[in-house]
């Protein structure tokens, strides 16, 4: 079959079929290269980590026991999230955080109503109870990759979304 166009039976000039496929193939070849490069060095997304860095004072554990991490905590510093619940609204509200597997998350919660903070990470999930007016602190370690929600249960509002890689 000739390379460029050809005349078929009734004289119409047609592009050869090989042209279409060669266009598609030449499009996909660079993308295979790009794809393998992207897969090799996963996610160069801008970090939206919230107040990273070690806390100045050691975090005092709340009465709720910390879940034992199934992997040894990574050398990445713990992330502290300051949560404020007041007037039926939560802050932060729907913020996304990028975390690493094995990273510790510390929650400092202040609320004007009795609440339960649920984090859907770790198997059965993590729960921190907060009483009205009394700040509470708790922490957990994210041990599995995936995207998890941290929400205020009674208000039914999402606080943060943890993207763990």
């Amino acid at each position: 079959m000739p390379r460029e166009g050809y005349r078929d039976k009734d004289g119409t000039v047609r592009k050869s079929r090989s042209t279409v496929w060669s266009v598609m193939l030449s499009a996909t070849l660079p993308t295979y290269i790009m794809l393998s490069a992207c897969a090799a060095s996963p996610s160069s997304q801008p970090s939206t980590a919230f107040t990273p860095g070690p806390s100045a004072t050691p975090i005092s554990q709340a009465s709720t026991p910390t879940s034992t991490p199934s992997k040894t905590p990574s050398s990445v510093e713990a992330v502290t999230i300051d949560v404020t619940i007041s007037g039926g609204k939560v802050s932060p509200s729907g913020q996304k955080l990028d975390l690493a597997v094995g990273q510790k998350v510390v929650l400092n919660v202040t609320s004007d109503v009795d609440e339960e903070i649920h984090a859907h990470a770790l198997g059965d999930g993590y729960q921190l109870n907060v009483s009205a007016g009394k700040p509470a602190t708790g922490s957990f370690v994210v041990s599995d990759p995936g995207s998890f929600y941290v929400e205020a249960h009674h208000l039914e509002k999402v606080i943060v979304i943890l993207n763990v890689r």
Partner: protein, 439 residues
Amino acid sequence: MTVALLPLHGIGSRDDLPLPFGFVIIGAVLTLIISFGVLLFAWRRPRYSTIGGRELPRLTALIDNRVVRLVARLLILAAYGWAALALLAGEDLLTNPIFGYVFVWMWVGLVPISLLFGQFWRATNPLRTIHRGLCAVARIDSSLGLLTLPRRIGVWPAAVGLFAFGWLELVQPERTTLGVLRVWALSWLVIMVLGAIVFGQRWIAAADPFETYASTIAEMSIWRRVGGSLRLVNPLAGLSSWLPPRGAPAAVAALLGITAYDSFTNTSWWIRTVQASNAPPLLWQTVGLLVMIIIVLTSFSAAARWMGRYTTESSAAYPRLMACSVVPIVVGYAIAHYATLLIVEGQRVAINFSDPLGRGWNVFGSAEMGVNSAIFNRPTAIAVIQLAAIVGGHVMAVVVAHEKAVRLLPPERALAGQWPMLAVMVGYTCAGLLLLFSP
């Protein structure tokens, strides 16, 4: 523990990571290159005017065998009956398999079932089995009813039903409680069966959202009935030869809109805005879902109608004629968003299916098994699957749209007529990629 506002398909607490931005760029670039490639270099004359394919007389005989059909229908009916047992007499906990049965096995599972097995859903629809059974007892012809359903109604009732299910899946508060699901299930059963008694069995094809969804996806499978016998066909040829019923654009728009809305509610902007507002979340969510569906419907219809400028046929006919070309995009979106849900939560349903009443049974031997969620530990593999699904769906859609364009338009106008449709598809695909990136 699931929260009504949580956009997590009602069940499952672990979601896919956002698509890496590099993948979004790759996907968008691929999409553009392929779309322009097809527009400029692809065939100018219809390529699939004859369906072709390979005839399968023995398989046809097997499938059309009355005993085989009856057994298949009864087995499927039994599965639904078992699920109904869980719904009516089971515990109101998330370990009740009915929630996963409806939201995962039925709603997501029908995509691979239809792609792999063709019109399996329509052949084994329990609603049809129930209606047939009632008609057999009453000694009436199941195809006849009290009234005749006008042809013009097409699948409009099913399109409304799809919106309703989307609302149930993503908006309905307390949707993972038995009380709410019972009302919905009963309504569905009654509306479908009563409608079939009034209008004949054609009502089910017109109004059952699941059957419409399944039979639409099945048009993309390799199995096709041509002149009564089954053939193995090229899916592109099969899809191009399908004449969608009236209302199909609305149904397809509902499907795409539901998945797009589901993804959109995962963005920080949406969560922040809805939670900061004093308007009830229910209002936001209902309006959001409707707006998404309307955006898809109007953009698609406008692009299709553009083709009418170049022919003597009325523009209004084109959305229906072109509805087949969006189906691969619907499938791509569904795979990208729900594949991990089906793989992981689908297992959980299979495990809990052995113990529908929560009494410690182990009827199918699966009650002690654990869910293998290893797929979640491979976020790169998930991202590649999502990218392949979205871009692959786009490629198929663009090829089918091009094929339809060269069939419906005069040859010198084929390019001018189809570029809006191509642009709209590029828009859907890039929007899909961006939504997966989930800012």
